[in-house]
């Protein structure tokens, strides 16, 4: 076990507004700023500062949908300073898993929060009537959102706020859809229309507080220590970003470039993972969508890659000749997996319409797709049946119209079945049966990689139960390419080190797509420019510490590593490594948690 005594305390650059934490109390409609140098000096920003604030703000055992659950947003010192540092970290107690809720999003969120002169935003309490907050240069206003509440489409909510609020081009507008209002446990928060704080139910926490949206902007300057060194390093990083082949792929095809390779590898979960490949996958591949539907590529603020791909879906009106509706729909690998291959949908138009419906409602595409996939198998196995009133839609693989209807029912929750499904797959399967094919890990629905043992061990051990925690899917593919022989120890160690290092990246806050650019030595130089003088060893320690703190929160809220359920289905469907061995997974999980340090930095 790693042990250390204390973290280095850095001196912040004079006048850097990052130390400012804006506290907003929705119950009393008050706000104030506190200077929290203590947090940023030790934990950098982003995930590091957010987990400290969550531990401070969230009392043990609170109901995640009660006013006592705080929402924390945090940015880091590299936001607004270096390209691809475009992300914001959100932390809260998850209404889906009951423990750590952490979700990252880009758009303009990171830029706007940092420009607003803030390092973090803490939202406490709950409003009694629907409101939205506008925050400019550190000042908060409470605005009436009664008319926005219940509006069918999240797109419309965005448009209304866009037209009512100033600072176009500099702002972020985060909002929830009806799924958040109705507290579906995997409702998301949408930002800049096509980016999301997707996972673990932040949208439901917004809904529980009657908080419809946040508009944030500002024009604060960020001072750097050495302008010459800054400009040089900026050019170096920028150049490597626009020339990196991996990033060019994100630009050209976007994340859906993974569909075909994973399908060929037999690692693309399909039909609720009854299969690991999909006949007709080509139809919903990144290449096919780019060729036939791509309407526009856009980027998050301060990112030269522009990986966001928007399809232009042109639909004729039924009764009017030569009359069309054109909708721009954002597609990525994850929604294609969850709402496409998992549901056996190979029609690109059907898939795009379903993705659009999920966006309109404001649901996490991944959890929603996995929920629908589980429900389809439950209907298939007659665990549940279509009711006489049709409210349990007769779900059949590939029938996207039925799925579009079911999304509406997840939001509306017209009966016990959809109420259960709105709680997440784990809850629904516990109630109705079918846990053996309920694809959840620590209560969170599965990401789109059945690449081998490391992917699943990563889902189980990751603090967020996300593929992005430790990138097991990538480790699997590396092992396959090198014909390596993984052992539980080697997998556990690699995942642990990766997850610990990612705590630094998500404290800066840089996009994980830039992880090959922001290597430890580059991060060290970049941090120095903004005043954080840390050695590689210092950074390593901080990474371990942040991870330890996250697990401290998880344990405190009842998470038990030895009670983790391994869905039977992942052992039945062969991976590129063949069938997975349960004992191997259990051993690796055990080893991972044995490596996990306990925090030594508690006050």
């Amino acid at each position: 076990m790693v042990c250390w005594n204390s973290l280095k305390v850095v001196e912040l650059v004079e006048g850097d507004p990052i130390k400012n934490v804006l506290y907003v109390d929705l119950t009393r409609r008050r706000y104030w700023i506190e200077e929290r140098n203590d947090l940023f000096q030790k934990y950098i920003g982003g995930s590091g500062v957010a987990i400290k604030l969550l531990l401070e703000e969230c009392r043990r055992g609170v109901d995640p949908l009660s006013p006592e659950n705080p929402i924390v947003f945090a940015v880091g010192p590299l936001n607004c300073v270096f390209p691809m540092a475009s992300k914001t970290v959100a932390m809260f107690k998850s209404p889906l898993t009951g423990n750590l809720g952490e979700s990252h999003a880009g758009g303009r969120s990171g830029i706007a929060l940092r420009s607003a002169g803030l390092g973090a935003l803490v939202i406490r309490g709950a409003s009694d009537t629907p409101i939205y907050l506008s925050i400019y240069d550190g000042k908060a206003s409470f605005r009436d959102a009664r008319v926005l509440w219940g509006m069918r489409s999240s797109y419309t909510v965005g448009r209304v706020i866009r037209e009512r609020e100033p600072k176009a081009g500099l702002r972020t507008i985060m909002r929830i859809g009806r799924a958040g209002e109705r507290m579906v446990r995997y409702a998301c928060v949408i930002t800049e229309t096509y980016r999301h704080f997707g996972r673990l139910g932040l949208g439901a926490v917004f809904g529980s507080k009657k908080l419809k949206a946040l508009a944030i902007a500002g024009t604060n300057n960020i001072k750097v220590k050495d302008i010459k060194a800054y400009k040089e390093l900026y050019q170096e990083i920028f150049k490597s970003e626009i020339t990196a082949p991996a990033l060019k792929k994100y630009h050209d095809i976007g994340t859906p470039m993974n569909v075909m390779p994973l399908n060929k590898l037999q690692a693309l979960p399909a039909y609720n993972l009854k299969s690991a490949s999909l006949d007709g996958a080509e139809q919903i591949s990144g290449e096919n969508l780019a060729r036939n539907y791509l309407g526009r590529r856009v980027a998050c603020g301060h990112c030269p890659v522009s990986c966001i791909h928007l399809a232009a879906l042109r639909e004729p009106y039924e009764k009017e000749p030569y009359f069309y509706k054109t909708t721009m729909i954002s597609y990525d690998y994850e929604p294609i997996y969850a709402l496409g291959s998992m549901l056996g949908i190979t029609s690109p138009e059907g898939l795009l319409k379903l993705i659009d419906e999920v966006e309109v409602a404001g649901l996490d595409a991944m959890s929603c797709g996995v929920a629908l996939a589980w429900a389809t198998e439950a209907v298939e196995k007659s665990v549940v049946s279509s009711g006489p009133d049709g409210t349990i839609v007769n779900l059949r693989w590939g029938d996207y119209n039925a799925y579009i209807k079911a999304v509406e029912y997840i939001v509306e929750q017209p009966n016990e079945f959809y109420k259960a499904l709105a709680h997440g797959v784990e809850y629904a399967a516990t109630k109705y049966g079918g846990l053996e094919y309920a694809l959840t890990f620590g209560g969170n629905e599965m990401p789109g990689y059945h690449t081998g043992p490391a992917a699943h061990i990563g889902y189980l051990t990751g603090a967020r139960h996300s593929h992005l925690d430790s990138a097991g899917y990538s480790l699997d593919q590396k092992i396959l390419a090198s014909k390596g022989e993984p052992t539980p120890t080697s997998v556990a160690n690699t995942l642990f080190e990766e997850e610990a290092w990612r705590q630094i990246l998500s404290s800066l806050v840089v996009c994980f797509f830039a992880r090959e650019i922001y290597k430890p030595e580059v991060v060290q130089k970049a941090l120095k420019v903004v005043g954080w003088d840390l050695s590689l060893e210092d950074m390593k320690k901080i990474g371990y510490e942040i991870l330890a703190l996250k697990h401290e929160f998880k344990r405190r809220e009842g998470f038990k590593a030895d009670a983790l359920r391994i869905p039977k289905r992942i052992l039945e469907t062969p991976t590129p490594f063949g069938r997975l061995d349960e004992a191997f997974i259990r051993d690796a999980v055990k080893e991972y948690f044995a490596r996990l340090p306990r925090s030594t930095n508690q006050p």
Partner: protein, 115 residues
């Protein structure tokens, strides 16, 4: 925008003289608000203290010592290309240095005469 701010030795967006915003939602694409280097610029015409001087080749130069921060130039600009620096409480005036053009990896911006 970031490249423009960097020119002034600053990170962030506080010192930018070019603004990119969505054309009413990201689904509709983007609009660039930037100085067109007018030969007969309305911003200079309305300046009550003569702080905006005509620049050879078009556009204006700000004589900061004369500026009283009245913002008339902001309202006068037909294409909303006079942005504001809250720190100095004076306009951010584009000097047509072309740093933004160099920073754009997709060739959206161009520094040219005419058009």
């Amino acid at each position: 925008m970031f490249a423009c701010s960097r020119r002034f030795g600053s990170a962030g967006l506080g010192k930018t003289a070019i603004l990119i915003r969505s054309a009413g939602g990201i689904e509709r694409g983007f609009v660039v608000q930037v100085c067109r280097a007018c030969e007969d610029p309305p911003c200079a015409a309305v300046c009550p203290t003569d702080a905006l001087k005509l620049r050879s080749g078009g556009g204006v130069l700000l004589e900061a010592a004369r500026c009283i921060g009245c913002r008339l130039c902001v309202d006068a600009c037909t294409v909303d290309a006079v942005l504001w620096d809250d720190e100095s409480d004076k306009p951010m005036i584009c000097v047509h240095c072309g740093l933004c053009v160099q920073a754009c990896p997709y060739g959206v911006l161009e520094l040219s005469k005419g058009g």
